[in-house]
């Protein structure tokens, strides 16, 4: 018993002592009158090397160029998403951004509750009312939507033209409607330039963990490459890093997603279907600062340069000029509306 009290006392003293430690460099919570922006990340969070990092990059750019003060929140389970947004809104942030379609409902209700705060939702999902009309988001909420299928169409065409094989591959993360958009656009692109090509499309799983299983991604990719696929497009978060590993191992090609993922496997990333989340986030912040922010739907497609594919000094050697010209032509046709890209199965 004495020993027990001794342990209790020792722990208590240690804790009290540690409470007094105040390391240099410990941040205090910000205050002041700079533009304040709050960002709540989706599952995966900062460092996912694609989607969330895009939002992070946009916000950081705003903080450097516009002097905005940015706070990031990484929620855990479901109810934390609303809590995270609310935390920021209640603190009187000027702009609160939810990164991911999953924030849709929470953003909608909070935007109504805090009409003086500007909200933005990356990949905000629009709802359709009984009559089939799109329900407009609240006036202080910007829905930042991307036409992933358009970008995916272009990289699909590219994969088919450069691949040198009648088979091209696709690896998705969680088997879900958002990722189907990527898959459908990609397939359409492949078929458009190569009607007799087949697309092997596989998913890493059925739970959100499927976006974080690179081991599975690598195995899926290896098996596709061994079936004669030369190029695989992934839309699978961290799982896709496994796809690049497989591409490195066998000396084939992968196509990145969301951000320019060339550096994940230099020389083996044919291109990336970029989704300018950074641009959209930066623009939203900029508009709030300039006082021109309005709610509504912002579509980022090929026309707005919101989606696209990477073609720069890194991969120029991998893509023949004729192919590049063909892709650019397709791009023009989509922008002109002569090609419509499907987005659902």
């Amino acid at each position: 018993m004495r020993k027990l009290l001794f342990v209790l006392g020792g722990l208590l003293v240690a804790h009290l002592a540690l409470l007094l430690v105040h390391p240099a460099g410990a941040v205090r919570l910000p205050d002041g009158d700079a533009l304040e922006v709050g960002v709540v990340f989706d599952l995966g969070g900062r460092g996912d090397k694609s989607f969330n990092d895009g939002a992070y990059a946009g916000a950081m750019r705003a903080s450097q160029e516009l002097g905005a003060r940015v706070r990031f929140v990484e929620p855990g389970e479901g109810s934390d998403r609303e809590a995270g947004l609310r935390l920021l809104a209640a603190e009187g942030m000027d702009l609160v951004i939810g990164v991911g379609f999953i924030f849709t409902d929470d953003l909608t209700s909070l935007a109504r509750e805090y009409p003086d705060v500007a909200f933005a939702g990356v990949d905000y999902a629009l709802t359709v009312d009984a009559a089939g009309n799109v329900v407009a988001p609240p006036g202080n909420l910007a829905a930042l939507k991307f036409r992933e299928e358009q970008g995916s169409f272009l990289v699909g065409a590219l994969a088919a033209l450069v691949g040198g094989s009648k088979k091209v591959g696709f690896v998705g993360g969680m088997d879900s409607p958002l990722i189907h958009k990527f898959e459908m656009g990609y397939k359409a692109g492949v078929r458009h330039v190569c009607p007799d090509c087949t697309v092997i499309a596989q998913y890493a799983g059925v739970t959100p963990e499927a976006f974080g299983n690179p081991g599975r991604g690598k195995e899926l990719a290896l098996s596709q490459y061994q079936q004669g696929v030369n190029v695989i497009y992934h839309a699978s978060g961290s799982t896709g890093l496994g796809v690049f590993e497989a591409a490195r191992t066998l000396g084939r090609f992968g196509i990145g997603v969301d951000a320019d993922q060339y550096n994940e496997a230099p020389g083996r990333v044919l291109t990336s279907m970029v989704k300018r989340v950074d641009e959209s986030v930066f623009n939203a912040i900029q508009r709030v600062q300039a006082g021109t922010f309005t709610g509504g739907v912002y579509q980022f497609g090929l026309a707005e340069n919101g989606v696209g594919y990477v073609y720069d000094e890194n991969n120029r050697a991998l893509i023949p000029d004729s192919v590049h010209a063909r892709i650019e032509a397709l791009r023009a046709e989509i922008i002109a509306g002569r090609i419509t890209v499907p987005s659902t199965r």
Binding site: G47, V206, N213, G215, L220, L222, Q224, L250
Partner: protein, 291 residues
């Protein structure tokens, strides 16, 4: 094609084999191995830290194994010295491993999901088979079960592990240091299982949050499926890996929804536990606090 199927099965099986080896050793010594998932995750993160700061995959292996050792030691102290419930500590170790790797992923790399790319094994532009053969961890993984089987059956340590897991009082009565044997077994279980994580991480050249994705539980199922015998457990690992390979191949064919294909290994396990091995006997002293 068959060769490629087998190669893929083997690749998928390697982490299972390491983890199941650790599981078999620990359970034979009477300590429940619900911790395998945590050990693997710790090993994977340690490997990436070691490889990143040390610049070599071998340093990564050393660091990953150290992480597994440390987690094994924590588990051993908790359930041997403090006689905590082994299932509870197992769950706690897994939770702890997830949290610690996430926290220090953030501390070390300011990321919530991925580490930077680190040195690993395997060159580039190889065939799948040469890539497999170039990875020393593959060879270790293939060897681990036969070696463990030999250790358990033919060495003094193995004899003592078996005695301690069945009847610790009897072992103690003839001067076998029960506590020490269990400590050694659990720490080795940490080392072996962590190698499974090390393989995953170095094969990917990076750490991803929770990258073991339930493989530790499959490995435990393989141990039970193999009725606690290393070689049989190894065969069970290969079986599960083959099921996953099949799943990958079947999914490409897209005949049934992926969710159902996904269930196959888990359903197999339940059927196995209920039917095939339901009546088989685990080590008698498993999950008994009193030595």
């Amino acid at each position: 094609m068959i060769l490629l199927f087998l190669a893929q099965t083997l690749r998928i099986a390697i982490p299972f084999l390491f983890a199941a080896a650790g599981g078999a050793l620990s359970e034979r010594a009477g300590i429940v191995a619900l911790t395998l998932e945590g050990f693997m995750l710790g090993g994977a993160f340690g490997a990436v830290l070691g490889s990143y700061y040390g610049g070599s995959a071998w340093i990564g292996i050393a660091a990953g194994v150290s992480a597994g050792m440390a987690l094994g030691a924590i588990h051993a102290v908790a359930c041997i010295r403090f006689r905590a419930d082994q299932v509870v500590t197992g769950v706690a170790i897994n939770l702890f491993a997830v949290g610690v790797t996430r926290f220090f992923l953030d501390v070390a790399f300011q990321s919530s999901s991925n580490s930077p790319r680190v040195a690993g094994f395997g060159g580039e532009g190889l065939s799948a088979l040469t890539a497999l053969a170039a990875n020393p961890l593959v060879w270790m993984g293939v060897a681990v079960m036969p070696v463990l089987a030999f250790v358990v059956a033919r060495t003094t340590f193995g004899l003592r592990v078996r005695a301690v897991g069945e009847h610790p009082q009897a072992a103690a009565s003839v001067g076998v240091p029960v506590t020490r044997v269990r400590y050694v077994a659990v720490v080795w279980s940490g080392i072996l299982a962590s190698l499974g994580g090390v393989y995953l991480a170095l094969d990917q050249h990076q750490f991803t949050d929770n990258m073991t994705a339930g493989r530790g539980f499959i490995a435990l199922a393989a141990v039970i499926f193999g009725r606690w015998h290393p070689v049989r457990a190894g065969i069970a690992c290969l079986l599960f890996a083959a099921a996953e390979t099949l799943q990958i191949q079947l999914q490409a064919a897209q005949v049934i929804p992926s969710q159902f294909v996904e269930m196959i290994p888990y359903l197999l396990t339940i059927i196995a536990v209920a039917g095939v091995v339901g009546r088989s006997r685990p080590p008698a002293a498993l999950n008994q606090a009193d030595a």
